[in-house]
Symmetry: C2
Subunit: 387 residues, 2 copies
């Protein structure tokens, strides 16, 4: 065990104030009405794709995020898939995504037969770097009949998916300007950022469409679940239609007017979500307290820092992020080894997507910052209620 990894381990233990034998990276907390609502749901017999909790959850998510519409779905991946279809992404199109993201962002593009086009991140937000992207698009793309076309591949670049990594809002002003200037549909992957705002407005509500995730490891959970956000009534209607097998309303006939999906969130899962939403303010406060404890505990180690929200943004601090200085990046694996071996669950960031077997041949911008962040990030235990 290196001296640094030992010091990091001790700082986590100090921040968590004598933690339990095993501290997971992120476990959910059910201290509110979860059992009550789920019980009510079972008693109603409406546990499946129709029910009052789904309607209520959608309304409450819309109210909370101030999106005009929220459509609940089975998970964040399904939400991304459908938003891409709604944005008109077709087979052969390219979609700009950060190389530094979870694999679902790229997979959802493949489900449409389209190709992820990987772009770099900035250290200030951990999200897409608008300046680098603008320079790249200026030299590598051209407009043909109002469509942005990749000069190297000849394929249309149809959309851009900024991701709010670990809940930290990326530079939406810069990215919205790019979307506008280059005729790209902007879809926000806010899977990790429920509760995070940019200039006071909730993430996921800036683009044409946005997506949320309520997977078991997220700030609130429905077991498995996600949502599509939009302000456009037509897109909201089509989102509901596509996620419910594209069935036309009729008293008894089964008419489906396009290839639809079975992506509706079950009422049972929405019941859990309604209870979790009630606790969200306390969850967010707890995560912010945890950041403070980590910051204090890590003060004595000059080679590392806790990632903190950039000015103008408010992060949900979904996953606490330790950044190693470049000089000690070679200590990352020793740090992961040291912490995990004493039951403090930590992890590196995802392997950059362009390095994964299914995405090795996809187009890429230069990725110097993403490559650097990949070597230097260690996520720390981040559950609510730890401090």
């Amino acid at each position: 065990m290196s001296i640094l990894s030992q010091a990091i381990t001790e700082s986590i233990q100090q921040a968590l104030n004598s933690p339990k034998e095993f501290v997971p990276l992120h476990e959910p907390s059910f201290s509110g009405n979860e059992s009550k609502y789920v019980q009510e749901c079972i008693e109603s017999t409406f546990v499946s794709s129709v029910g009052k909790f789904v309607d209520r959850f959608e309304k409450e998510i819309a109210d909370y995020t101030r999106a005009k519409y929220a459509v609940a779905v089975v998970n964040g991946t399904a939400a991304l898939h459908v938003t891409l279809l709604l944005a008109g992404v077709e087979s052969g199109d390219e979609v700009l995504v950060p190389a530094l993201s979870f694999v679902a962002t790229a997979n959802s593009i493949r489900y449409c037969g389209a190709v992820p086009h990987f772009v770099d991140s900035e250290e200030r937000t951990l999200g897409m770097d608008p300046e680098a992207l603008r320079n790249y698009l200026q030299s590598s793309s051209e407009q043909r009949d109002g469509i942005c076309v990749n000069r190297n591949t000849g394929c249309p670049i149809r959309a851009i998916i900024p991701v709010h990594i670990f809940g930290h809002p990326c530079d939406l002003d810069g990215l919205l300007a790019i979307a506008s200037d280059f005729n790209l549909a902007l879809i926000e992957d806010a899977a990790e950022s429920l509760g995070s705002t940019y200039q006071g407005q909730h993430t996921g509500t800036f683009g044409l469409l946005g997506t949320l995730s309520f997977n078991g490891n997220k700030t609130i959970t429905t077991g498995g679940g996600g949502a599509i956000l939009t302000d456009d009534p037509k897109l909201a209607k089509r989102a509901k239609h596509l996620t419910t097998t594209a069935k036309l309303p009729h008293r008894w006939e089964y008419l489906h007017d396009e290839v639809g999906y079975n992506y509706r969130m079950p009422n049972l899962n929405a019941a859990l979500g309604c209870a979790q939403l009630e606790e969200l303010p306390e969850f967010l406060a707890s995560k912010r307290r945890l950041l403070g404890c980590y910051q204090e505990a890590f003060q004595s180690i000059p080679q590392v820092s806790l990632f903190a929200e950039p000015e103008g943004s408010r992060s949900n601090y979904w996953l606490q992020t330790l950044l190693l200085d470049d000089s000690v990046a070679n200590q990352r694996d020793a740090t992961l080894e040291a912490t995990n071996s004493v039951g403090l669950m930590t992890r590196p960031v995802w392997k950059l997507l362009h390095k994964l077997a299914p995405y090795r041949d996809c187009p890429c911008t230069p990725l110097p910052v993403a490559e650097s962040l990949e070597r230097r990030i260690v996520n720390l235990p981040s559950s609510t209620g730890l401090v």
Copy 2:
């Protein structure tokens, strides 16, 4: 209201012995350990894609069906999608499916970029007609290097998906022989037939792969859910891999070796399923009693009959099926109108798939029996516990 539709309405009322004001087509019943197990699941905090109820549900489904392996997924559509991928179905392939089925059977084929090729049904089973299909394939397909090729389109016919309509087993002997003779992968869509057997063996376990559904309207429900059945350990392992984002096992690295899916059943839903499975024998007995009551009540109407399992098969009687004689098929809509207007929920069979907008241009065999059945089927209230 016609005399026949009035008589049918009264027969349903007689069978159900003074039914409530509104009788749904199929509602779930939660009279066992549902609340207890779901409560346990919430207390464990493992509500998402990992947990003891998912493992237990998979084991119990495998034990019950005597499939060697069961992999729990988010719904029956996801199960079909993944089994097609596992069977090697690729873009441009054709897959034989009954025109008389729920739209998910065709949609799952489209998700693979493949094309549904619609075939006729037989009145004896409501499922695919092996004799008609064999004659058709003999004249319309040829073998090229061990691959069955559609002579008209030039495309490979890669697989065949028999569906056990309303839970009634189709002629598996005849269809397995066709699959073998024409080099087709056979995938059983047993979404509707949990509890149904063919020659004493559970449906879904005859082909290379089989699928189940636990949607809210099925014999047992997990809210939303499904399962993949197979006896092949390699396919089972790949099914699990593909449905869990194709992530390779590692202590902390995120390595995904192919385009995977977020199709895992949440533990919360599996908890409900474990309780429901305990009640399955009673549910099946109740459905069989209901058939008897309907048969008795409809004895006085010679122009209609209740569909009953063919010899050698045992049906779960998921949806009770009234068949109108051809002479009174023109009374179907009057019957639907009369019954639904007094709160007895009935429905016709699904619109034949080759008539739906997204599937209008797909290849078809002649469909005389499916066309006839479409005009003549009325599904009756079928919940467990009605009698």
